[in-house]
């Protein structure tokens, strides 16, 4: 029941925030904050109460559309719990970030943010494949509006591109889900979308491969995996800061989650056959993203390509499929969500101050905004994988795990870490160092901004120095995802 509340609180909060916005805009922001905090409290309560309760921390199951055997089945295990907390954390920060930046249609903005969060939670919690698809698509429309309404100059193009990429790949997944549903019916005579029952549906190798590719298409676009990534830089270049944090930080985790939860358990053989190709794509993504990040002048684009590079590690870790690499992939997802979110936030703060997203228009900012620059350096270092921060742990484990079975991939991917150093330091040098050419005098970090970034620094350091709680929580889930480890 609590699981349902997790989603309902966000939706009610969104509707309330929208309703009061015209009268009292500030109240709308606070309602969003309260709704997310309430959710966070619920999630932490679940974590504390039930962490050792069994495979599932909590479950809820209702008939939804009995004619099709569709259930409203929510369940939470350690993996979902981690990602739910990450989602709410980033979502909260995204609301804080928009305090100054968003001044038009405030209510609708918060409604959309909370709806996306509800959709993401739905993805992490659903154990019915129809519900999963439903939630998956539910993230789409609010995100489209966020880009379209509060974006920059070419926002319409970016929004439509995002929509089309996601929708096409989503429909492929829908067909795959239905194919699995029909295949299961042919064998058992029962129509069901239930995850537990669809596990182990006997499929011919060809059918299994086709259905698996349908799922993979949706996850590959969302992650994004190398040839399907082009929507992300475009969208990030146009969208507002809070939107970017969700776009690059959270949507990717839904894809990674989908692969761990559905791809491997449902199609163990097909994924194994497909793994080399996926790993090649991952390695290409790591290098390609890093190299393109090197040559970007638009800060948001730079971060988007950097994020593609980092997410390559997630894909690599998942498809290397051993205990170390998958743990590393989960860790990378979480750390990347925080560090990339923080970098987008810093880029947004720089934009608010200098009025531009171009690196060329920033130079020598350290003189005028030392605190902001210092924090920028911190997150740039986190992103290039400095030990002591979450990103390092994640990528290191991925490389270690990959190294065991796939030496070549590990070597090439390690070069990507090297390339990360170049673009991260280039960003720091171009923006913060050098002479203050334009003689800018800008306000440094304000209280709220400093607080938000401070929380993120603490979180990232915590993940870097004491990652055990994350691994412990995930291990709890990993026990019943046997297909992950061969």
């Amino acid at each position: 029941m609590i699981l349902l509340w997790l989603i309902v609180v966000l939706i009610i909060g969104g509707i309330l925030a929208w309703a009061v916005a015209r009268a009292i805009p500030l109240l709308s922001r606070w309602i969003s904050v309260v709704a997310i905090l309430l959710d966070l409290a619920l999630a932490l309560y679940l974590a504390v109460q039930h962490l050792n309760a069994g495979p599932w921390l909590a479950q809820a199951d209702w008939d939804w559309i009995p004619q099709f055997g569709i259930h409203f089945h929510l369940a939470m295990d350690g993996l979902s719990l981690l990602l739910v907390i990450l989602t709410l954390f980033i979502g909260l920060l995204a609301v804080f970030v928009s305090w100054r930046e968003i001044t038009t249609a405030i209510g609708f903005y918060h409604f959309n943010i909370l709806c996306i969060l509800a959709g993401i939670l739905g993805v992490f919690l659903s154990l019915d494949l129809f519900l999963f698809y439903f939630s998956w698509e539910l993230m789409l429309v609010p995100m489209y509006f966020l880009i379209l309404l509060w974006g920059r100059e070419h926002r319409a193009r970016a929004a439509i591109k995002f929509f089309l990429f996601t929708q096409i790949s989503g429909l492929l997944m829908l067909i795959a889900i239905l194919a699995l549903y029909i295949a299961h019916y042919r064998v058992t005579g029962i129509y069901t979308f239930e995850y537990a029952e669809l596990l182990g549906t006997p499929l011919s190798p060809l059918a299994s491969m086709c259905i698996m590719l349908g799922f993979f298409a949706a996850f590959a676009v969302k992650l994004p995996v190398f040839p399907f990534h082009t929507w992300l830089p475009d969208a990030c270049a146009e969208a507002s800061t809070g939107t970017n944090m969700i776009l690059a930080g959270l949507l990717a985790t839904t894809a990674g989650y989908g692969m761990i939860r559905f791809l491997f358990p449902l199609f163990p053989n097909a994924t194994r056959t497909f793994a080399p190709i996926a790993m090649i794509l991952a390695v290409i993504g790591i290098l390609y993203g890093a190299f393109l990040a090197l040559s970007q002048t638009n800060l948001m684009r730079l971060l988007a390509y950097a994020s593609i590079s980092h997410l390559g590690f997630v894909l690599l870790g998942i498809f290397a499929s051993n205990a170390l690499s998958v743990q590393g992939a989960v860790m990378t997802m979480i750390a990347h969500g925080i560090s990339t979110g923080a970098l987008f936030l810093i880029a947004g703060l720089l934009e608010a101050r200098t009025g531009s997203r171009e690196l060329d228009s920033m130079s020598g900012l350290w003189d005028t905004v030392p605190r902001l620059s210092g924090v920028g350096l911190f997150f740039a270092l986190a992103s290039l994988g400095l030990p002591g921060m979450g990103d390092f742990i994640g990528e290191f484990l991925v490389l270690l795990g990959t190294f065991r079975g796939h030496l070549i991939f590990a070597i090439v991917a390690a070069c990507g870490v090297l390339a990360a150093m170049f673009y991260a330091l280039r960003f720091v040098q171009r923006a913060f160092h050098g002479p203050n050419l334009r003689q800018l005098h800008l306000p440094d970090l304000a209280m709220r901004e400093g607080f938000v970034l401070g929380v993120m620094i603490v979180a990232l350091l915590w993940l870097g120095f004491y990652p055990q709680p994350v691994f412990h929580t995930f291990a709890h889930a990993a026990n019943h995802l046997p297909a992950l480890w061969r």
């Binding site: 004619q67 249609a105 539910l138 379209l148 439509i160 429909l171 239905l178 029909i182």
Partner: protein
Amino acid sequence: MIADYIIPSLPLLLVAGTSVVVMLAVAVRRNHSVAFGLTLLGLAASFCSAFFVPVRQLGILLTVDRYGLFFIGLIAAAAMAVAVLAHGYLAEREGNKEEFYILLLVATLGAMVLACSSHFVSLFLGLEVLSIGLYSLIGYLRERPLPVEAGIKYLVLAASSSAFLLFGIALVYADLGTMEFSRIAQLAASGTNLHYDLLLPGVALILTGIGFKLALAPFHMWTPDIYQGAPAPVTAFVATISKGGMFALLLRYFSQSRLDLFSPVLVVFSIIAIASMFAGNLLALFENNVKRILAYSSIAHMGYVLVALEVGGQAGAGAVIFYLVAYFIMTLGAFAVVTVLSPRERDADQIDDYRGLFWRRPWLALGFTAMLLSLAGIPLTVGFFGKFYIIAAGAATGAWALILILVITSTIGLFYYLRVVVALFQKQTETEAAAPTRRRTAPAAALVLSVLTLVLIWLGVFPSPLLRIIQAAIHTLL
């Protein structure tokens, strides 16, 4: 006599009777509101009676079964929505208003007859009653060039398509000696005295006539012109009730005459469905006129429904009906917005009329967005579940090629729906925002639009009650 014939045909009689009452009322004294009120009352009575009347075969012409009553209810409800929209629309326009409602009732009656007919004679009667009502409805604003042009175009084309239909019926009759749908199946199954060289051309000609009414490719050429020219509420009528009645008939004809046993027919259906999906979605890409975009989109949607029809069986028939209900809701909603936005002198059909609507009239813009997203098949809307149902039905019979084409073409369709949505949310420059046309939505039309939006989302999230009703309806059909 009363129990056998009058009571079962009550839904039809009420509509027919109301048209006479309205006509008499107009003869006594012209009053727009009285005519409108009587129409609404009659349609509401017909709608309610559809729940209570007993199920019965009326002679050989009409079958009043759950299936027919379901469509009668749907058509009556849609006709009420059209009447409400027309009330506000006509009040601002020149000329006599009262006759509109008489014609509307007559055309609605025709569509209802189609939904119940199980015989070629009643098919033709229903079709002609519907068409004759429509000729004058489309050209109702007779001082204006566009509606008159559209009316004449429709007259010429519909009349010739009726001729095709009649000739086809004659050929089938010449071969089998019957015009009853169920007898056709029996004779075709027994296989005696069959001359395929008469029967097949006959069926082909009948399908031509039906295809014209449904605006399926390649019989779709008239659609954009008529949609653009007709007054917006009439366009809503053409798009929903006229096509819905015809599809109700086609599904009954298809399942009772067991057309699925003729493999050439299935091939033809596939070709028509694929052509409609591609033609509708591709042609809409090049349009800037919202009414024409909706016209092309309706061609594509009829293609989707045809896919479900071809899948056949329990699932296919269910998907057809569910999708038609969804199509009724979203199309009526879309045209409700067009109607509400139309200024006195023309219909709001340019995409520029919608630019920045969200910043001027947010509720209207959000309602329209919901309709467009539903047409595009996005979750939380009834359009999504309709598409899901069709794809599921297709997957169950392994019609992968058709499903893939449906998915591909509906993604193409996203482009033009999103183009309109983008226009709705475009920020305006200050000069544009200062321009007046700050009109209030008429309360009745606002009510219709909000009810449609709520139903759209309700059925998108909780489709099971409707599914249960539909399953009861197709039970008698198959």
